[in-house]
Symmetry: C2
Amino acid sequence: MTDFDQVLAERVKEIEKIIDGYLPPVKGKQKTILEAMDYSMKAGGKRLRPMLLLETCRLFGGREEEAAPFMAAIEMIHTSSLIHDDLPCMDNDQYRRGKKSTWAKFGEDMGVLAGDALIVEAFSAAARAFAVTEDPERVGKAIKILAEKTGIYGMIGGQVVDVELTDKPIDRDTLGFIYRLKTGALLEASMTIGAVLAGADEESCKKIGQIALDVGVAFQIQDDILDVTSSQEVLGKPVGSDVKNNKTTYVTLEGILRAREEVERLSKEALELLSLLDGRNAFLDELIRMLITRER
Amino acid sequence: MTDFDQVLAERVKEIEKIIDGYLPPVKGKQKTILEAMDYSMKAGGKRLRPMLLLETCRLFGGREEEAAPFMAAIEMIHTSSLIHDDLPCMDNDQYRRGKKSTWAKFGEDMGVLAGDALIVEAFSAAARAFAVTEDPERVGKAIKILAEKTGIYGMIGGQVVDVELTDKPIDRDTLGFIYRLKTGALLEASMTIGAVLAGADEESCKKIGQIALDVGVAFQIQDDILDVTSSQEVLGKPVGSDVKNNKTTYVTLEGILRAREEVERLSKEALELLSLLDGRNAFLDELIRMLITRER
């Protein structure tokens, strides 16, 4: 474990504590769904999106207190998408991260409803930011971004195209669309919301959005690469699944060398853009470098 | 057709025009889901929630322009719940209002995603209110109410308990909980949001919330009554389905006479509370009276 890995593990714990504060207590007549939501939210994960949100907010001089409601919100949205992705009518996955997926544990109906409830709860958490902000317009803007980057022009839009093209040929252009929306949009939302909440000017918010998109797409291509080059021991999940499932990825379309070049190009662009901004956040620099060069 | 029926039909058309303005255009790579959303939103219905929202906003001197984004939002939330209710793992309904249900027409995966997208799009529409309001705090408050009354402590919470208790005995207390949350909460949201957007004081918003809950529960009990006393010709849908499905309703628990008394009591309370408020909206009075005494 490197020093950065250790710092990272600490930060993940801090973030999980913040998010926990926004999870509704598991009690009352609707206990089952609250249990399902709690189970899904506490099933682990990198907590990447809330971390990027917080660190971008800090980069522009914002406070954790202002970021917190949206950190919870973005993780809830992300979790809801995992729950619904796993449903029998979607990827039909019984397991996620070595544990039973939400529908497999709580039933398919509760899987649908828990995902729905987490989407709604995300906006409920976000709306709590009005109580801690000095500038309700910033919060309004952040809610708008959250909705746009989650919906049909963001994550869900990417998901739809991905689902529709299962087992069909995908061209370079469409693959880029899926990566930008399915993976990129929520990272874009995370970083842009962090900037908006800290009061960054429009120009900087735009640049941050571009950085996040670069990181998102590079992250996804790196995923494709690792599926070919890594091992189950290192990655913690089965490898070679893209080839097995006949799935079009950047690697199957362009080959591993060009995939590596593209990750290199995108990460260089992201880090350069980041260095041109006024503020400085060494942890954020390191985090982005790690995300792209990661081996698992 | 009475005069009021005619006025009502006109208003429904006006409301549908307003909502249409918030539906995303059906085009682009994610066209299928946009089609599914459009199909579901245009499948008819009483448009009761946006109508109550608008009329309550008017009651307190608010403008249609301010109410519009939330009128679209509340109808999108309502529609999303119908789409997900119809899914095979929920009620497994192939038809709704004589047309194919969304999943039956577009596939189960698109049914899940279209419902998700409509929840998100609702908050996207609501956030557009920031652009037309003079008071962003009101919009923030309205978004908070929308999320709370949709989520686990509102509509979805009621839905969860209803689903869990299918084919199980339900006591009076639990049935009241389901009616208040599953049917009542979204009407409560509609009317309270209308009041909040118009700048009504806290006391009035609370009273409006109570009125809406009374109307919601009375509306649901009236539904139970009509399922026993009406005919398919009048109601436009099969009757006797509660008994056939062995479903616990207010009528099966308390009998038809007490059910009628309860509707009477709730509607009297609602109309009395309404008459005690400062403003006046004759159409709203009439609408509420109609909702409760309706024969279909």
